[in-house]
């Protein structure tokens, strides 16, 4: 009874999540809850299982045990595309864009229409599509690059483009894996500003190592260590937790 209620109140409720690879538990009995409109940052040393958690939520990896409820829907049994259709978007660690296609085409392919075989065959580039693409391109600072082949963009621009490809789907839950990795200081600042703008009205999970960046954006922070939650709370609280200092922040 109370569990059901809990699952309804949170956007995302992860409970007892476990995945093991040949006996090695990359994620071990992990539980956490994300509120509506919250920006949650997951930090932790390398190999703590952060990326695996995102893989589990978006269906890329199948869990061994536990549940992931998104707005009350169980995600662990869904196919990847069904999870996307229900409003979960995910950005990969390395910018994952279509290098051979233009920025416009990259965004157009991500536009949530014509996702079936027939839909894709008879998809038409109408005003609605162009409008949505241009709107997103403006948000991600690529308005002038619409017809550039994506492979020619800088590393930071590729990261933005992938974020844009998620935005055009209008997801309710956005998951970003190291969005500022490999960016210059100026690009980081613009990205923080971008994230603060686009997170209005949706929940976000971010994995990040850059502590300054985390302080700038996080509402709450989850620290992972060896597949488990080590500490959770506001940045201030987490920073002063002796366990966290020992395994992660101390060095």
């Amino acid at each position: 009874m109370s569990e059901k209620k809990a699952a309804k109140d949170f956007v995302l409720a992860v409970e007892g999540l476990t995945v093991s690879f040949d006996g090695f538990k990359a994620v071990n009995d992990l539980s956490f809850y994300v509120d509506e409109g919250e920006i949650r940052v997951i930090i932790g040393p390398n190999g703590a299982g952060k990326t695996t958690v995102l893989d589990l939520i978006c269906g890329k990896t199948k869990s061994t045990a536990g549940s992931i409820k998104f707005r009350g829907m169980e995600l662990t049994k869904m196919t990847e595309h069904a999870i996307v259709h229900n409003g979960v978007g995910r950005k990969f660690q390395n910018p994952s864009i279509y290098e051979d296609l233009t920025v416009f085409e990259n965004l157009e392919l991500s536009f949530p229409r014509g996702r079936s075989v027939l839909g894709a065959l008879f998809f038409r580039r109408d005003a609605e599509v162009v409008e949505a693409v241009e709107e997103v391109a403006e948000t991600i600072f690529l308005k002038d690059q619409l017809h550039t082949t994506a492979g020619l963009l800088s590393h930071g621009q590729k990261q933005w483009l992938e974020i844009g490809m998620l935005l055009i789907q209008k997801p309710d839950l956005l998951m970003l894996d190291e969005p500022v990795a490999g960016m210059s200081v100026a690009e980081r600042k613009r990205t923080a500003e971008l994230l603060n703008r686009i997170t209005k009205g949706r929940s976000v999970i971010v994995i990040e190592h850059d502590m300054q960046f985390v302080e700038d954006i996080a509402h709450r922070v989850t620290v992972m260590h060896q597949g488990k939650t080590l500490s959770e709370g506001s940045m201030e609280r987490v920073k002063n937790d002796p366990k966290v200092v020992e395994v992660y922040l101390g060095h």
């Binding site: 290098e99 065959l121 998809f123 580039r125 992938e162």
Partner: protein
């Protein structure tokens, strides 16, 4: 998202006029319409005017392989799915046609010397006294025509669903399709009472009473074949230019990104593989009509992989290139094996190695990089340069994760 809305109408040039959407402009941007016209003139006017009917019939036979090659451009060049079993679909289409023609040729009158009149001669030789049940429906031409398309497509669908839903791709898919080609050949040869065995189904004469062996029939069949090939090219062009075509290109490099943009990746692979199978089947049926027989030597491993080389020589990314590649390789094969039979295998072997090593995009690639710039200074829209392969990431060790080698083909995940 807060966005000024004023810009949207200014850039309305991007919006394709709905009226012309499915018109020629959207379907044939840039030079494609010219290429299609050149091909049509070459095959439809030039060759029939200059070749005698024997040679023209030979070209018609070659062109039936072009159906397979065009299908392979979509599957392999665009989708990154290398099938080494296209001969299976070519053969199934061809056998469906041959079964109808054989039944027509085996009426009780002309087979009255057999111990069981009215059944195909090879059945009689194999002591079969009754027409097998799966031959019965092939008395009907409409059924046969439907079967030509439906049987190979359903077969392809079963293979594709089993493989792609489980994320099997790349090398594994190639090996499995090759094994299927091998199995079907052994089966056809082994069950000679039902299939005509190693000789195949021969001695086909008439189609609804119309003699298909005369010169005039051969002219007509050549043009039927030509028109069907043009229709297949139009269909392929439509797929290529649709969003589905762009998705295939996108999938080849970044399958996960496509999947996590909300697409069911396997359904697109299944579609394009079935389409390739249907094209091959049409080619097989036209082969039977023009050449007058069908045999397991067009089904197995060797013909299937030869069909891949037709496509590779023409250019795995060019549907028009595939047609020229098919014609060129077959013309060379006929010429060589007539005059220097022992040299032919050397030439063919060298062709495989040479195309892969030096011209991964085949004739079309050479044309794009050397000849097209002479006509136009416009940027090439689909020029492929090898980029760094991305590290494949996969949930399982065996999965369909192509490292992106645009212009090349996908590989298996590790």
């Amino acid at each position: 998202m807060s966005m000024p809305n004023q810009s949207s109408m200014e850039n309305s040039a991007l919006v394709e006029n709905p009226l012309s959407q499915h018109g020629l402009k959207a379907l044939f941007p840039k030079h494609d319409i010219i290429y299609l016209a050149i091909l049509a003139v070459f095959l439809g006017i030039l060759l029939p005017m200059t070749l005698d009917i024997f040679r023209l019939n030979l070209v018609g036979k070659y062109l039936t392989y072009a159906f397979v090659a065009v299908g392979l451009v979509l599957c392999w060049g665009y989708g990154g799915i290398l099938s080494l079993g296209q001969g299976v679909f070519f053969g199934l289409g061809g056998y469906c046609m041959a079964m109808f023609l054989k039944l027509e040729a085996s009426d009780p009158e002309s087979t009255k010397i057999q111990s069981t009149p009215g059944i195909p001669d090879f059945m009689d030789w194999n002591q079969i006294t009754e027409l097998p049940w799966f031959w019965e429906p092939f008395y009907s031409l409409p059924f046969a025509l439907i079967a030509i398309l439906v049987v190979p497509t359903i077969f392809a669908y079963i293979i594709a669903v089993a493989m792609f839903k489980r994320r099997v791709g790349g090398v594994y898919f190639a090996i499995i399709t090759q094994a299927i080609a091998s199995i079907l050949t052994i089966l056809i040869i082994g069950q000679q009472g039902y299939t005509g065995g190693v000789n195949g189904i021969t001695d086909l004469r008439t189609l609804l009473g119309w003699d298909i062996r005369t010169d005039s029939a051969k002219y007509i069949l050549y043009y039927v074949n030509f028109i069907l090939l043009m229709l297949c090219l139009l269909a392929a062009q439509f797929v290529r230019k649709s969003k589905l075509g762009r998705l295939l290109v996108a999938m080849r490099g970044r399958e996960d990104r496509v999947r996590f943009s909300g697409y069911d990746v396997s359904s697109f692979k299944i579609f394009v593989f079935c389409l390739g199978a249907a094209f091959s089947a049409i080619g097989g049926a036209m082969f039977t009509l023009q050449v007058g027989f069908m045999s397991p030597s067009f089904v197995g491993i060797v013909p299937s992989i030869e069909m891949v080389i037709f496509c590779a020589v023409g250019g795995r990314l060019s549907i028009f290139g595939a047609v020229y590649g098919t014609l060129l390789v077959n013309w060379a094969k006929t010429t060589f094996s007539e005059s220097f039979p022992e040299l032919w295998l050397f030439a063919m072997g060298a062709l495989f190695i040479g195309v892969v090593m030096a011209f991964p995009n085949g004739l079309a690639g050479i044309y794009k990089s050397h000849i097209e710039p002479l006509f136009s200074r416009k940027p090439k829209m689909f020029e492929k340069k090898p980029s760094t392969p991305k590290p494949a990431s996969a949930p399982e060790p065996v999965s369909a994760e192509p490292p992106s080698i645009p212009g090349s083909i996908s590989a298996m995940g590790k």
